[in-house]
Protein backbone atom coordinates (compact mmCIF):
# COMPACT_ATOMS: atom_id res chain seq x y z
CA UNK A 1 0.00 0.00 0.00
CA UNK A 2 1.18 3.51 -0.79
CA UNK A 3 0.86 6.25 1.81
CA UNK A 4 -0.82 8.63 2.25
CA UNK A 5 -3.99 6.94 1.04
CA UNK A 6 -6.12 9.21 -1.12
CA UNK A 7 -9.82 9.09 -0.27
CA UNK A 8 -10.87 12.59 -1.26
CA UNK A 9 -12.03 11.98 -4.84
CA UNK A 10 -14.78 14.62 -4.55
CA UNK A 11 -12.12 17.30 -4.15
CA UNK A 12 -10.18 16.19 -7.18
CA UNK A 13 -9.10 13.05 -8.99
CA UNK A 14 -5.68 12.07 -10.28
CA UNK A 15 -5.14 12.29 -14.01
CA UNK A 16 -5.64 8.88 -15.59
CA UNK A 17 -2.42 7.79 -17.33
CA UNK A 18 -4.40 7.08 -20.50
CA UNK A 19 -5.65 10.66 -20.44
CA UNK A 20 -2.13 11.97 -20.14
CA UNK A 21 -1.10 9.81 -23.12
CA UNK A 22 -3.85 11.38 -25.19
CA UNK A 23 -2.82 14.88 -24.12
CA UNK A 24 0.92 14.55 -24.52
CA UNK A 25 1.18 15.23 -28.28
CA UNK A 26 -0.76 18.47 -27.72
CA UNK A 27 1.60 19.53 -24.97
CA UNK A 28 4.56 19.00 -27.29
CA UNK A 29 4.69 19.14 -31.08
CA UNK A 30 0.97 19.52 -31.84
CA UNK A 31 0.83 23.00 -30.40
CA UNK A 32 -1.36 24.75 -32.95
CA UNK A 33 -4.09 27.24 -32.18
CA UNK A 34 -7.45 25.67 -32.93
CA UNK A 35 -8.60 28.99 -34.34
CA UNK A 36 -5.83 29.10 -36.96
CA UNK A 37 -7.84 28.23 -40.05
CA UNK A 38 -5.09 28.66 -42.61
CA UNK A 39 -2.48 26.03 -41.81
CA UNK A 40 -1.98 22.42 -40.75
CA UNK A 41 -1.08 23.26 -37.15
CA UNK A 42 -4.48 24.88 -36.66
CA UNK A 43 -6.38 22.15 -38.50
CA UNK A 44 -4.78 19.47 -36.39
CA UNK A 45 -5.70 21.28 -33.18
CA UNK A 46 -9.23 21.98 -34.36
CA UNK A 47 -9.75 18.37 -35.31
CA UNK A 48 -8.59 17.23 -31.87
CA UNK A 49 -10.94 19.71 -30.17
CA UNK A 50 -13.90 18.57 -32.27
CA UNK A 51 -13.17 14.94 -31.43
CA UNK A 52 -13.06 15.82 -27.73
CA UNK A 53 -16.26 17.81 -27.99
CA UNK A 54 -17.95 14.71 -29.40
CA UNK A 55 -16.54 12.54 -26.60
CA UNK A 56 -17.85 14.97 -23.97
CA UNK A 57 -21.26 15.24 -25.66
CA UNK A 58 -21.65 11.47 -26.01
CA UNK A 59 -21.17 10.90 -22.30
CA UNK A 60 -24.21 13.06 -21.49
CA UNK A 61 -26.37 12.27 -24.50
CA UNK A 62 -25.82 15.65 -26.12
CA UNK A 63 -24.72 16.89 -29.52
CA UNK A 64 -21.12 18.10 -29.94
CA UNK A 65 -22.39 21.52 -31.03
CA UNK A 66 -23.99 21.95 -27.63
CA UNK A 67 -20.68 21.80 -25.72
CA UNK A 68 -19.04 25.08 -24.74
CA UNK A 69 -15.53 24.66 -23.38
CA UNK A 70 -14.66 26.60 -20.22
CA UNK A 71 -11.87 26.71 -17.67
CA UNK A 72 -13.81 24.53 -15.25
CA UNK A 73 -17.14 24.15 -13.53
CA UNK A 74 -16.91 27.38 -11.56
CA UNK A 75 -16.79 29.23 -14.86
CA UNK A 76 -19.49 26.98 -16.31
CA UNK A 77 -21.82 27.77 -13.41
CA UNK A 78 -21.07 31.48 -13.66
CA UNK A 79 -21.68 31.47 -17.41
CA UNK A 80 -24.89 29.45 -17.15
CA UNK A 81 -26.47 31.50 -14.38
CA UNK A 82 -25.27 34.98 -15.24
CA UNK A 83 -25.57 34.29 -18.95
CA UNK A 84 -29.22 33.26 -18.60
CA UNK A 85 -29.99 36.04 -16.12
CA UNK A 86 -28.70 38.66 -18.52
CA UNK A 87 -30.15 37.14 -21.69
CA UNK A 88 -33.63 36.57 -20.27
CA UNK A 89 -33.80 39.69 -18.08
CA UNK A 90 -36.85 40.95 -19.96
CA UNK A 91 -38.74 37.75 -19.27
CA UNK A 92 -38.15 37.70 -15.54
CA UNK A 93 -35.76 38.19 -12.68
CA UNK A 94 -36.35 35.17 -10.48
CA UNK A 95 -33.95 32.24 -10.06
CA UNK A 96 -34.44 29.17 -7.88
CA UNK A 97 -31.53 27.30 -6.35
CA UNK A 98 -30.89 25.41 -3.10
CA UNK A 99 -29.07 25.97 0.17
CA UNK A 100 -26.73 23.02 -0.39
CA UNK A 101 -25.37 24.16 -3.75
CA UNK A 102 -21.69 24.74 -4.38
CA UNK A 103 -20.35 28.22 -3.68
CA UNK A 104 -19.84 28.73 -7.41
CA UNK A 105 -23.62 28.71 -7.72
CA UNK A 106 -24.54 30.36 -4.41
CA UNK A 107 -22.13 33.25 -4.72
CA UNK A 108 -23.06 33.79 -8.35
CA UNK A 109 -26.69 34.05 -7.25
CA UNK A 110 -25.74 36.39 -4.41
CA UNK A 111 -24.05 38.70 -6.87
CA UNK A 112 -27.15 38.69 -9.07
CA UNK A 113 -29.24 39.64 -6.03
CA UNK A 114 -27.20 42.84 -5.80
CA UNK A 115 -28.21 43.57 -9.38
CA UNK A 116 -31.92 43.30 -8.67
CA UNK A 117 -32.55 39.62 -9.27
CA UNK A 118 -34.67 37.69 -6.80
CA UNK A 119 -33.25 34.34 -5.69
CA UNK A 120 -35.07 31.55 -3.87
CA UNK A 121 -32.71 29.32 -1.88
CA UNK A 122 -34.71 26.15 -1.34
CA UNK A 123 -34.12 24.38 1.96
CA UNK A 124 -33.49 20.63 1.78
CA UNK A 125 -35.02 17.72 3.66
CA UNK A 126 -32.98 15.77 6.23
CA UNK A 127 -32.09 13.42 3.37
CA UNK A 128 -30.43 16.29 1.52
CA UNK A 129 -33.05 16.11 -1.23
CA UNK A 130 -35.15 19.06 -2.25
CA UNK A 131 -38.90 18.97 -1.72
CA UNK A 132 -40.49 18.80 -5.18
CA UNK A 133 -43.71 20.43 -3.93
CA UNK A 134 -41.76 23.32 -2.54
CA UNK A 135 -39.93 23.71 -5.83
CA UNK A 136 -43.23 23.68 -7.72
CA UNK A 137 -44.70 26.31 -5.41
CA UNK A 138 -41.62 28.51 -5.71
CA UNK A 139 -41.99 28.93 -9.46
CA UNK A 140 -43.61 32.23 -10.44
CA UNK A 141 -44.25 33.90 -13.78
CA UNK A 142 -40.99 35.77 -13.22
CA UNK A 143 -38.91 32.60 -12.82
CA UNK A 144 -36.36 32.24 -15.60
CA UNK A 145 -34.01 29.58 -14.24
CA UNK A 146 -33.82 26.66 -11.83
CA UNK A 147 -30.23 25.82 -10.90
CA UNK A 148 -29.91 22.66 -8.82
CA UNK A 149 -26.93 20.38 -8.61
CA UNK A 150 -27.09 16.82 -9.86
CA UNK A 151 -25.13 15.31 -6.97
CA UNK A 152 -23.81 17.07 -3.91
CA UNK A 153 -20.07 17.39 -3.45
CA UNK A 154 -20.17 16.80 0.31
CA UNK A 155 -22.89 14.26 0.93
CA UNK A 156 -23.10 12.73 -2.55
CA UNK A 157 -26.90 12.98 -2.55
CA UNK A 158 -28.43 12.82 -6.02
CA UNK A 159 -31.35 15.18 -6.60
CA UNK A 160 -34.47 14.01 -8.45
CA UNK A 161 -33.09 15.54 -11.63
CA UNK A 162 -35.53 13.91 -14.01
CA UNK A 163 -38.52 15.20 -12.03
CA UNK A 164 -36.97 18.65 -11.79
CA UNK A 165 -36.31 18.70 -15.53
CA UNK A 166 -39.86 17.62 -16.28
CA UNK A 167 -41.33 20.29 -14.02
CA UNK A 168 -39.08 23.00 -15.47
CA UNK A 169 -40.14 22.06 -18.99
CA UNK A 170 -43.82 22.11 -18.04
CA UNK A 171 -43.43 25.57 -16.56
CA UNK A 172 -41.27 26.90 -19.37
CA UNK A 173 -38.36 27.60 -17.03
CA UNK A 174 -34.77 26.79 -17.96
CA UNK A 175 -33.02 24.12 -15.90
CA UNK A 176 -29.30 24.27 -15.18
CA UNK A 177 -27.55 21.54 -13.22
CA UNK A 178 -24.07 21.55 -11.76
CA UNK A 179 -23.27 17.93 -12.58
CA UNK A 180 -19.60 18.01 -11.66
CA UNK A 181 -19.83 15.14 -9.18
CA UNK A 182 -22.23 13.04 -11.24
CA UNK A 183 -20.95 13.08 -14.81
CA UNK A 184 -18.81 10.03 -15.47
CA UNK A 185 -19.89 8.44 -12.18
CA UNK A 186 -23.59 7.78 -12.78
CA UNK A 187 -25.53 7.82 -16.07
CA UNK A 188 -26.48 11.37 -17.02
CA UNK A 189 -28.61 12.10 -20.08
CA UNK A 190 -29.64 15.62 -20.95
CA UNK A 191 -32.49 14.46 -23.17
CA UNK A 192 -34.10 12.04 -20.72
CA UNK A 193 -33.60 14.45 -17.84
CA UNK A 194 -34.76 17.58 -19.73
CA UNK A 195 -31.62 19.45 -18.78
CA UNK A 196 -31.03 22.77 -20.56
CA UNK A 197 -27.60 23.64 -19.16
CA UNK A 198 -25.10 21.34 -17.44
CA UNK A 199 -21.70 22.04 -15.90
CA UNK A 200 -18.78 19.60 -16.16
CA UNK A 201 -15.32 19.74 -14.66
CA UNK A 202 -12.28 17.92 -16.08
CA UNK A 203 -10.42 17.18 -12.88
CA UNK A 204 -13.38 15.51 -11.16
CA UNK A 205 -13.42 12.70 -13.72
CA UNK A 206 -9.72 11.83 -14.03
CA UNK A 207 -9.05 14.57 -16.53
CA UNK A 208 -6.84 17.64 -16.17
CA UNK A 209 -7.48 20.70 -14.01
CA UNK A 210 -8.26 24.02 -15.64
CA UNK A 211 -10.74 22.71 -18.18
CA UNK A 212 -14.46 22.12 -18.05
CA UNK A 213 -17.54 22.40 -20.18
CA UNK A 214 -21.02 23.80 -20.23
CA UNK A 215 -23.70 21.96 -22.13
CA UNK A 216 -26.08 24.47 -23.71
CA UNK A 217 -29.22 22.99 -25.29
CA UNK A 218 -29.72 23.93 -28.92
CA UNK A 219 -33.15 22.49 -29.61
CA UNK A 220 -36.51 22.67 -27.79
CA UNK A 221 -35.73 25.08 -26.40
CA UNK A 222 -32.74 26.76 -27.97
CA UNK A 223 -30.96 28.26 -24.97
CA UNK A 224 -29.20 31.55 -25.44
CA UNK A 225 -26.57 33.02 -23.16
CA UNK A 226 -24.98 36.40 -22.80
CA UNK A 227 -21.23 35.88 -22.90
CA UNK A 228 -19.40 36.77 -19.71
CA UNK A 229 -15.95 36.89 -21.31
CA UNK A 230 -15.56 39.03 -24.39
CA UNK A 231 -12.91 38.63 -27.04
CA UNK A 232 -12.36 36.72 -30.24
CA UNK A 233 -15.80 35.15 -30.28
CA UNK A 234 -14.70 31.57 -29.68
CA UNK A 235 -17.21 28.88 -28.73
CA UNK A 236 -19.92 30.38 -30.90
CA UNK A 237 -19.51 33.69 -29.14
CA UNK A 238 -20.38 32.28 -25.74
CA UNK A 239 -16.86 32.06 -24.37
CA UNK A 240 -13.94 33.87 -25.91
CA UNK A 241 -10.36 32.86 -25.35
CA UNK A 242 -7.87 30.65 -27.19
CA UNK A 243 -8.84 27.04 -26.65
CA UNK A 244 -6.87 25.01 -24.14
CA UNK A 245 -6.25 22.23 -26.66
CA UNK A 246 -4.33 19.74 -24.47
CA UNK A 247 -6.83 20.26 -21.66
CA UNK A 248 -9.79 19.77 -23.98
CA UNK A 249 -8.25 16.63 -25.47
CA UNK A 250 -7.74 15.35 -21.91
CA UNK A 251 -11.31 16.16 -20.91
CA UNK A 252 -12.59 14.35 -24.00
CA UNK A 253 -10.50 11.26 -23.36
CA UNK A 254 -11.49 11.26 -19.67
CA UNK A 255 -15.17 11.39 -20.68
CA UNK A 256 -14.74 8.49 -23.08
CA UNK A 257 -13.01 6.37 -20.43
CA UNK A 258 -15.80 7.12 -17.96
CA UNK A 259 -18.42 6.19 -20.53
CA UNK A 260 -16.77 2.82 -21.12
CA UNK A 261 -15.95 2.00 -17.51
CA UNK A 262 -18.69 3.68 -15.49
CA UNK A 263 -20.96 0.65 -15.22
CA UNK A 264 -18.34 -1.65 -13.73
CA UNK A 265 -16.54 1.08 -11.80
CA UNK A 266 -19.67 2.24 -10.01
CA UNK A 267 -20.52 -1.30 -8.93
CA UNK A 268 -17.00 -1.86 -7.62
CA UNK A 269 -16.93 1.45 -5.74
CA UNK A 270 -20.38 0.97 -4.25
CA UNK A 271 -19.17 -2.38 -2.94
CA UNK A 272 -16.10 -0.81 -1.35
CA UNK A 273 -18.11 2.10 0.06
CA UNK A 274 -20.68 -0.25 1.57
CA UNK A 275 -17.91 -2.32 3.11
CA UNK A 276 -16.35 0.77 4.67
CA UNK A 277 -19.73 1.80 6.04
CA UNK A 278 -20.46 -1.67 7.43
CA UNK A 279 -17.08 -1.86 9.15
CA UNK A 280 -17.42 1.55 10.79
CA UNK A 281 -21.01 0.96 11.87
CA UNK A 282 -20.13 -2.51 13.12
CA UNK A 283 -17.33 -1.36 15.40
CA UNK A 284 -18.60 2.01 16.63
CA UNK A 285 -21.79 3.22 18.25
CA UNK A 286 -23.35 6.65 17.65
CA UNK A 287 -22.37 6.85 14.01
CA UNK A 288 -24.63 8.83 11.68
CA UNK A 289 -24.76 8.87 7.90
CA UNK A 290 -25.35 12.37 6.54
CA UNK A 291 -27.85 12.43 3.71
CA UNK A 292 -29.85 9.79 1.90
CA UNK A 293 -28.20 6.41 1.32
CA UNK A 294 -30.81 5.53 -1.32
CA UNK A 295 -30.22 8.45 -3.66
CA UNK A 296 -26.47 8.79 -3.47
CA UNK A 297 -23.31 8.57 -5.53
CA UNK A 298 -21.82 5.08 -5.28
CA UNK A 299 -18.44 6.32 -4.14
CA UNK A 300 -19.48 8.74 -1.40
CA UNK A 301 -19.76 8.22 2.33
CA UNK A 302 -20.34 11.20 4.61
CA UNK A 303 -20.49 10.09 8.18
CA UNK A 304 -20.49 11.72 11.60
CA UNK A 305 -18.87 10.15 14.62
CA UNK A 306 -20.81 11.76 17.45
CA UNK A 307 -18.80 13.21 20.37
CA UNK A 308 -15.61 13.37 18.30
CA UNK A 309 -14.51 16.57 16.60
CA UNK A 310 -13.64 16.23 12.93
CA UNK A 311 -10.28 17.94 12.83
CA UNK A 312 -8.93 15.92 15.73
CA UNK A 313 -10.05 12.82 13.86
CA UNK A 314 -8.26 13.95 10.70
CA UNK A 315 -5.16 14.53 12.79
CA UNK A 316 -5.27 10.95 13.98
CA UNK A 317 -5.66 9.55 10.50
CA UNK A 318 -2.99 11.75 8.97
CA UNK A 319 -1.92 9.04 6.53
CA UNK A 320 -5.37 9.14 4.95
CA UNK A 321 -6.50 12.10 2.85
CA UNK A 322 -10.18 12.85 3.54
CA UNK A 323 -12.23 15.98 4.26
CA UNK A 324 -14.22 17.09 7.26
CA UNK A 325 -17.19 19.40 7.64
CA UNK A 326 -15.66 20.60 10.89
CA UNK A 327 -15.21 24.33 11.31
CA UNK A 328 -11.64 23.83 12.44
CA UNK A 329 -10.68 22.59 8.99
CA UNK A 330 -12.08 25.66 7.27
CA UNK A 331 -10.75 29.17 7.20
CA UNK A 332 -14.05 30.64 8.37
CA UNK A 333 -14.44 28.63 11.59
CA UNK A 334 -17.95 27.81 10.43
CA UNK A 335 -18.96 24.17 10.09
CA UNK A 336 -20.20 22.84 6.77
CA UNK A 337 -23.23 24.79 5.53
CA UNK A 338 -24.35 21.71 3.63
CA UNK A 339 -24.61 19.60 6.77
CA UNK A 340 -26.24 22.48 8.64
CA UNK A 341 -28.84 22.67 5.87
CA UNK A 342 -29.79 19.05 6.59
CA UNK A 343 -30.76 20.22 10.06
CA UNK A 344 -28.29 17.84 11.63
CA UNK A 345 -27.06 20.32 14.25
CA UNK A 346 -23.67 21.94 14.40
CA UNK A 347 -22.26 19.23 16.66
CA UNK A 348 -22.91 16.58 14.03
CA UNK A 349 -21.43 18.85 11.36
CA UNK A 350 -18.29 19.26 13.46
CA UNK A 351 -18.00 15.48 13.75
CA UNK A 352 -18.28 14.64 10.08
CA UNK A 353 -15.86 13.02 7.67
CA UNK A 354 -16.32 12.78 3.91
CA UNK A 355 -14.87 9.70 2.27
CA UNK A 356 -14.63 9.92 -1.50
CA UNK A 357 -13.57 6.67 -3.16
CA UNK A 358 -12.40 6.48 -6.72
CA UNK A 359 -10.87 4.67 -9.65
CA UNK A 360 -7.63 3.83 -7.87
CA UNK A 361 -9.05 2.94 -4.44
CA UNK A 362 -8.25 -0.65 -3.48
CA UNK A 363 -9.92 -3.15 -1.21
CA UNK A 364 -6.80 -3.22 0.94
CA UNK A 365 -6.94 0.56 1.38
CA UNK A 366 -10.55 0.42 2.53
CA UNK A 367 -9.66 -2.20 5.15
CA UNK A 368 -6.77 -0.11 6.40
CA UNK A 369 -8.79 3.12 6.54
CA UNK A 370 -11.70 1.48 8.35
CA UNK A 371 -9.40 0.03 11.00
CA UNK A 372 -7.52 3.26 11.44
CA UNK A 373 -10.66 5.38 11.77
CA UNK A 374 -12.12 2.97 14.30
CA UNK A 375 -9.06 3.07 16.53
CA UNK A 376 -8.76 6.87 16.37
CA UNK A 377 -12.46 7.39 17.12
CA UNK A 378 -12.11 5.08 20.11
CA UNK A 379 -9.06 7.00 21.34
CA UNK A 380 -10.82 10.35 20.96
CA UNK A 381 -13.96 9.14 22.66
CA UNK A 382 -11.91 8.19 25.67
CA UNK A 383 -10.89 11.85 25.71
CA UNK A 384 -14.36 13.19 25.04
CA UNK A 385 -16.37 14.66 27.92
CA UNK A 386 -19.43 14.47 25.68
CA UNK A 387 -19.09 10.73 25.16
CA UNK A 388 -18.67 10.30 28.92
CA UNK A 389 -21.82 12.31 29.60
CA UNK A 390 -23.70 10.41 26.92
CA UNK A 391 -22.67 7.13 28.54
CA UNK A 392 -23.86 8.45 31.91
CA UNK A 393 -27.24 9.10 30.34
CA UNK A 394 -27.02 12.90 30.27
CA UNK A 395 -29.19 14.52 27.60
CA UNK A 396 -26.64 16.78 25.91
CA UNK A 397 -29.34 18.90 24.33
CA UNK A 398 -30.52 19.96 27.80
CA UNK A 399 -27.11 21.00 29.14
CA UNK A 400 -26.47 24.73 29.61
CA UNK A 401 -23.30 25.22 27.56
CA UNK A 402 -21.10 28.26 27.80
CA UNK A 403 -20.95 29.18 24.13
CA UNK A 404 -17.93 31.21 23.17
Amino acid sequence: MKFPIYMDYHATTPLDARVLDAMMPFLTNKFGNAASRNHAFGWEAEEAVEKARKQIATLIGANAKEIVITSGATESNNLAIKGVAEMYAERGNHIITAATEHKATLDTCKRLEKHGYRITYLPVLASGLIDMDMLRESITDKTILISLMYANNEIGVIQPVREIGKLAKEKGVLFHTDAVQAVGKVPVNVIDDNIDLLSISGHKLYGPKGVGALYVRRKSPRVQLTAQIDGGGHERGMRSGTLNVPGIVGLGEACELCRKEMASESVRLAGLRDKLKAKLEGALDEVYINGSMESRLPHNLNISFAFVEGESLLMGINDVAVSSGSACTSATLEPSYVLKALGAGDDIAHSSIRFGLGRFTTDEEVDYVAQKVISVVQHLRELSPLYEMFKEGVDLSKVQWTAH
Binding site: F307, V308, E309, E311, S312, M315, G316, S326, A327, C328, A331, L333, P335, G345, D346, D347, H350, E382, L383, S384, P385, L386, Y387, E388, L396, W401, T402, A403, H404
Partner: protein
Protein backbone atom coordinates in the same frame (compact mmCIF):
# COMPACT_ATOMS: atom_id res chain seq x y z
CA UNK B 1 -2.16 23.05 8.56
CA UNK B 2 1.03 21.82 10.14
CA UNK B 3 0.96 21.13 13.85
CA UNK B 4 3.87 21.78 16.18
CA UNK B 5 5.65 18.75 17.62
CA UNK B 6 4.33 19.62 21.06
CA UNK B 7 0.71 19.68 19.87
CA UNK B 8 1.24 16.34 18.16
CA UNK B 9 2.81 14.92 21.31
CA UNK B 10 -0.07 16.00 23.55
CA UNK B 11 -2.57 14.75 20.98
CA UNK B 12 -0.97 11.31 20.72
CA UNK B 13 -0.06 10.99 24.40
CA UNK B 14 -2.48 13.17 26.27
CA UNK B 15 -1.53 13.69 29.92
CA UNK B 16 -3.93 13.25 32.80
CA UNK B 17 -6.96 12.08 30.88
CA UNK B 18 -9.85 11.09 33.06
CA UNK B 19 -12.47 12.16 35.52
CA UNK B 20 -12.57 12.59 39.28
CA UNK B 21 -15.61 12.43 41.54
CA UNK B 22 -17.23 15.81 41.11
CA UNK B 23 -19.00 15.41 44.45
CA UNK B 24 -15.70 15.18 46.32
CA UNK B 25 -15.47 18.47 48.31
CA UNK B 26 -11.80 18.79 47.37
CA UNK B 27 -12.45 18.48 43.64
CA UNK B 28 -13.25 21.51 41.52
CA UNK B 29 -14.83 20.91 38.10
CA UNK B 30 -14.95 23.32 35.21
CA UNK B 31 -16.68 22.68 31.91
CA UNK B 32 -16.50 25.28 29.16
CA UNK B 33 -17.38 25.49 25.50
CA UNK B 34 -20.30 24.08 23.57
CA UNK B 35 -20.69 21.14 21.19
CA UNK B 36 -22.05 23.36 18.42
CA UNK B 37 -18.92 25.51 18.62
CA UNK B 38 -16.78 22.42 18.11
CA UNK B 39 -15.07 22.36 21.48
CA UNK B 40 -15.96 21.40 25.04
CA UNK B 41 -13.34 21.13 27.78
CA UNK B 42 -13.86 19.52 31.15
CA UNK B 43 -11.07 20.22 33.60
CA UNK B 44 -10.89 19.03 37.19
CA UNK B 45 -8.50 19.87 40.02
CA UNK B 46 -8.06 18.07 43.32
CA UNK B 47 -6.85 20.42 46.02
CA UNK B 48 -5.21 19.50 49.31
CA UNK B 49 -7.41 21.40 51.77
CA UNK B 50 -4.55 21.88 54.24
CA UNK B 51 -1.95 23.30 51.88
CA UNK B 52 -4.17 24.74 49.14
CA UNK B 53 -1.95 22.98 46.60
CA UNK B 54 -3.38 21.27 43.52
CA UNK B 55 -2.38 17.65 43.87
CA UNK B 56 -4.06 16.25 40.82
CA UNK B 57 -5.64 17.50 37.63
CA UNK B 58 -7.65 15.65 34.99
CA UNK B 59 -9.22 16.63 31.70
CA UNK B 60 -11.46 15.44 28.94
CA UNK B 61 -11.81 17.47 25.76
CA UNK B 62 -14.00 17.36 22.68
CA UNK B 63 -12.28 19.55 20.15
CA UNK B 64 -9.53 19.89 17.61
CA UNK B 65 -5.97 18.75 18.22
CA UNK B 66 -4.96 22.16 19.56
CA UNK B 67 -7.84 22.14 22.05
CA UNK B 68 -6.84 18.69 23.26
CA UNK B 69 -3.20 19.76 23.56
CA UNK B 70 -4.11 23.02 25.36
CA UNK B 71 -6.12 21.22 28.01
CA UNK B 72 -3.59 18.41 28.37
CA UNK B 73 -0.85 21.00 28.92
CA UNK B 74 -3.08 22.89 31.36
CA UNK B 75 -3.36 19.84 33.60
CA UNK B 76 0.44 19.56 33.65
CA UNK B 77 0.81 23.22 34.55
CA UNK B 78 -1.75 22.99 37.34
CA UNK B 79 -0.19 20.20 39.33
CA UNK B 80 1.82 21.50 42.27
CA UNK B 81 0.48 25.04 41.98
CA UNK B 82 -1.57 26.73 44.67
CA UNK B 83 -5.11 27.70 43.84
CA UNK B 84 -4.13 31.35 43.50
CA UNK B 85 -1.13 30.55 41.32
CA UNK B 86 -3.45 28.52 39.09
CA UNK B 87 -5.76 31.51 38.67
CA UNK B 88 -2.80 33.53 37.41
CA UNK B 89 -2.12 31.17 34.48
CA UNK B 90 -2.53 33.08 31.22
CA UNK B 91 -3.53 31.65 27.87
CA UNK B 92 -0.43 33.21 26.30
CA UNK B 93 1.72 30.74 28.24
CA UNK B 94 -0.14 27.92 26.51
CA UNK B 95 0.13 29.64 23.11
CA UNK B 96 3.89 29.99 23.50
CA UNK B 97 4.49 26.52 24.86
CA UNK B 98 2.50 24.82 22.09
CA UNK B 99 3.43 27.31 19.34
CA UNK B 100 -0.26 27.72 18.44
CA UNK B 101 -1.04 29.61 15.22
CA UNK B 102 -3.37 32.67 15.44
CA UNK B 103 -6.40 30.66 14.26
CA UNK B 104 -5.98 28.35 17.27
CA UNK B 105 -5.56 30.99 20.00
CA UNK B 106 -9.19 30.45 21.02
CA UNK B 107 -8.21 26.93 22.15
CA UNK B 108 -5.78 28.40 24.70
CA UNK B 109 -8.40 30.93 25.82
CA UNK B 110 -10.80 28.08 26.39
CA UNK B 111 -8.18 26.24 28.46
CA UNK B 112 -7.67 29.33 30.61
CA UNK B 113 -11.43 29.59 31.04
CA UNK B 114 -11.56 25.92 32.05
CA UNK B 115 -8.88 26.45 34.71
CA UNK B 116 -10.75 29.44 36.12
CA UNK B 117 -14.04 27.56 36.07
CA UNK B 118 -12.55 24.58 37.92
CA UNK B 119 -10.89 26.73 40.59
CA UNK B 120 -14.03 28.85 41.03
CA UNK B 121 -16.05 25.68 41.46
CA UNK B 122 -13.61 24.46 44.11
CA UNK B 123 -13.69 27.81 45.94
CA UNK B 124 -17.47 27.90 45.91
CA UNK B 125 -17.61 24.41 47.37
CA UNK B 126 -15.14 25.27 50.15
CA UNK B 127 -16.99 28.50 50.95
CA UNK B 128 -20.27 26.60 51.21
CA UNK B 129 -18.72 24.02 53.45
CA UNK B 130 -17.23 26.64 55.70
CA UNK B 131 -20.57 28.37 55.84
CA UNK B 132 -22.13 25.09 56.82
CA UNK B 133 -19.52 24.60 59.55
CA UNK B 134 -20.06 28.12 60.93
CA UNK B 135 -23.77 27.53 61.12
Amino acid sequence: MAYSDKVLDHYSNPRNVGSMDKNDPNVGTGMVGAPECGDVMKLQVKVNPDTGIIEDAKFKTFGCGSAIASSSLATEMLKGKTVDEALAIKNTEIVNELALPPVKIHCSVLAEDAIKAAITNYKEKTAKEQAAVTL
